[in-house]
């Protein structure tokens, strides 16, 4: 299990949260995902054997958001 925290470049619409949570949550290997509106962060728990930080980052950028940095933590 790896915990990932993506810092995004300012989320404006709360509907972005549904979009991101839905899109990231569908990916294989994603155990849980939470998009935080106010801090503009996406927190995800992933199985590092199935997916990785870059795959999810691409999903988020595809949706039109800019990832400022990623924090990864073994859990």
């Amino acid at each position: 299990m790896t915990k990932l925290v993506y810092q995004l470049d300012g989320l404006t619409c709360p509907s972005c949260l549904q979009k991101i949570e839905g899109a990231v949550g569908q990916q294989a290997g994603v155990k849980s995902v939470k998009a935080l509106f106010n801090s503009s962060k996406v927190k995800a728990q992933i199985d590092p054997a199935v997916t990785n930080a870059d795959t999810l980052k691409k999903t988020i950028t595809d949706l039109g958001y800019t990832v400022v940095n990623v924090r990864s933590q073994e859990a």
Partner: protein, 618 residues
């Protein structure tokens, strides 16, 4: 695709200019071009979301735009696409303001650190055990202990206290605090995400997204709302055969102010608290705070300063200095706060060897020192009857409300000490403020009932209860809750973990940050008790603010829908009102950034003025 997504602002300006030109010269092709330019980033985002099977607001707008162009309404499509991007841009800018309190905190964290040998390294590379040097005007890069030099350090980032504290060898310093003058060398104990400062930032960020029940409900609702609008618009279009009406519903249906209203109030409110040393763990805590009717306090270190001083010392021995050395030697072997206070008071010059230390909980400590059996503790250590004079002295100390410490040498009573804590200077004002607001105030203490009562004389308290173990405090809270009372417990976070957890709202004060972060709902990082009043006030203002925002949001929807029914609202004006309502709720939330007049002088502890009688607290 990504290029288009990142150039929304250019598309907005381009679309705006083209729309203006198209309107001025009445050129339909210019308006169609404007719709295309401004609509493209919207459509791309809609498509990307759709690829992940998400129905977004952008999708609703895109369909509406295409529909408008097809039915020959290029004015509407041009105006709507421009307004959508413009609104988005304004929202981003004004939302940035609501987040400024936290971003200010995060930005204050230093990026580099100077090692003692002069090498500068990025903060990320610091390791536990490294020694860093911090000069005047610089920010401490990690948590640690001072190992050399001395300095005045402003800990406002952690505690909200603006006054500098003197720090020298042995003192703990925190990342994010600032050296105002002097130089210190620090041995690093915690780095990066483990520092208290980063924990505070994480805590607030999580808190700002921990929503109140109302907000959570609205967000769940919003998840279904967007697809629902699409379905309704489709049905209306099919039944009425009126494309214009259907696409107008799509635009009006965008969930805006309703979804953003409550979160935005929470962000600003919690940010305001954080700036003043009040960390609230989420919007739901603010909701609960409004219902509190009973406030229970721990005494030592909460209502009092927790700095115990010796007020009476009555010796029955010709050799006071020797007895003092024996007592100090024994107490040095314990960690009891009273013992620590005694050692500080006695200032022993010599330290005799202590052997065979036996600590009995609730009684005292016994040890062999210099061939004598020395016991220090309460009256239970006494094995021989006392003289009338000794009994009188002990009685005087106890009835005076001080804590009693006795010492025997070879079972002979040689000294009686009276120790006393001091009230915090703002305790009376804070208690008066709470009772003026109609809250019950109760002290729960581990000290004897007599000591608690004496210390709390003349304070506006509903009840004082002494002689309680930590578990008794929990039972006291449970009992009150069983009576339907909503209980807040205020304690120091170290000894009071269970009580903090049991209370409806647990407030931890000052010390013990690490523990408190886990168990408490609110953390007062400074030792200023008046912040309790600010806390209640802030919670009330936040709850009112959220309600106002809901009224604005629901009112807008109602207004637009009825406008649509009577034919007053079209696509463009609908989008305009929609964006205005979003900006209104943000502006309303931003009012929470201002300090109410009552608390204007937050940094100073002011004498209580009973002018708060009309604050409708429960």
């Amino acid at each position: 695709m990504h290029v288009i997504q990142t150039h929304k602002q250019e598309a907005m300006i381009g679309g705006g200019v083209l729309t203006a030109l198209g309107l001025v010269f009445s050129q339909a092709w210019l308006l169609v071009l404007a719709s295309l330019v401004a609509g493209l980033p919207i459509a791309v985002n809609a498509w990307e979301a759709l690829r992940y099977k998400q129905i977004s607001i952008e999708l609703l707008v895109t369909i509406a735009l295409v529909g408008a162009v097809l039915i020959g309404e290029p004015v509407e499509s041009a105006v709507v696409s421009f307004l959508f991007l413009f609104g988005d841009w304004l929202e981003q800018r004004s939302l940035a303001k609501t987040r400024s309190a936290i971003q200010g905190l995060a930005a204050a964290a230093p990026k580099t650190a100077r090692l003692v040998d002069g090498v500068t390294v990025p903060v990320g590379q610091l390791a536990v055990g490294d020694q860093v040097r911090v000069l005047a005007g610089e920010t401490v890069p990690a948590d640690g202990k001072v190992i050399g030099g001395q300095a005045n350090i402003v800990e406002a980032a952690i505690t909200g206290e603006p006054d500098a504290k003197r720090k020298q060898a042995g003192a703990t310093v925190y990342s994010g605090t600032q050296v105002s003058d002097g130089t210190v060398d620090i041995e690093v104990e915690k780095t990066g995400y483990n520092t208290v400062y980063q924990q505070i930032i994480d805590l607030i960020e999580d808190a700002q997204d921990a929503q109140s029940p109302v907000a959570t409900f609205i967000q769940k609702f919003a998840r279904w709302y967007t697809p629902l609008v699409l379905v309704i618009a489709l049905l209306v279009g099919l039944v009425s055969q009126d494309v214009r009406l259907a696409i107008t519903i799509l635009v009006l249906g965008c969930p805006g102010a309703l979804v953003i209203g409550a979160p935005v109030s929470n962000v600003v409110g919690l940010g305001f608290g954080a700036k003043h040393g009040i960390l609230i763990k989420g919007g739901d805590v603010a909701t609960k705070l409004d219902q509190i009717d009973t406030v229970m306090f721990d005494k030592t270190g909460t209502l009092t300063q927790g700095k115990i001083s010796v007020t009476t010392a009555q010796y029955w021995t010709p050799d006071e200095a020797n007895v003092a050395a024996l007592v100090a030697a024994v107490e040095q072997a314990t960690a009891h706060p009273l013992g620590q206070a005694l050692v500080a008071y006695l200032q022993p010059q010599t330290t005799p060897v202590v052997e065979d230390v036996k600590v009995t909980r609730g009684v005292g400590v016994q040890a062999q020192v210099a061939g004598h059996t020395v016991s220090v503790g309460n009256q239970k250590i006494l094995k021989q009857p006392q003289t009338p004079e000794q009994r009188a002295a002990i009685q005087a100390i106890v009835s005076g409300g001080a804590s009693l410490v006795l010492a025997t040498v070879d079972d002979k009573l040689v000294v009686a000490y009276g120790l006393r804590d001091q009230l915090r200077p703002d305790t009376p004002a804070m208690l008066a403020d709470l009772s003026t607001n109609g809250k019950k105030t109760i002290v729960l203490s581990g000290d004897s009932q007599a000591a608690v009562e004496h210390m709390m004389t003349d304070l506006p308290l509903s009840q004082t209860r002494g002689g309680l173990l930590p578990a008794d405090k929990v039972s006291a809270i449970k009992a009150a809750q069983a009576h339907g009372e909503k209980v807040m417990f205020v304690g120091d976070g170290i000894n009071d973990g269970p009580a903090l957890a049991q209370a409806d709202v647990g407030v931890a004060m000052g010390s013990g940050m690490d523990v408190a972060i886990d168990t408490a709902d609110v953390i007062l990082t400074s030792s200023r008790l008046t912040n309790l009043g600010v806390l209640f006030d802030l919670a009330k203002r936040m709850n009112v603010n959220i309600k106002q925002n809901l009224v604005i949001a629901i009112g807008t929807v109602a207004l637009l829908l009825s406008g649509l029914l009577v034919g007053l609202v079209d696509m463009a004006s609908g989008m305009l009102f929609h964006e205005i309502s979003i900006l209104l709720v943000i502006a309303n939330a931003l009012r929470l950034r201002h300090t109410p007049r009552k608390w204007q002088n937050l940094t100073a502890i002011k004498a209580h003025q009973p002018q708060t009688a009309n604050n409708e607290g429960k």
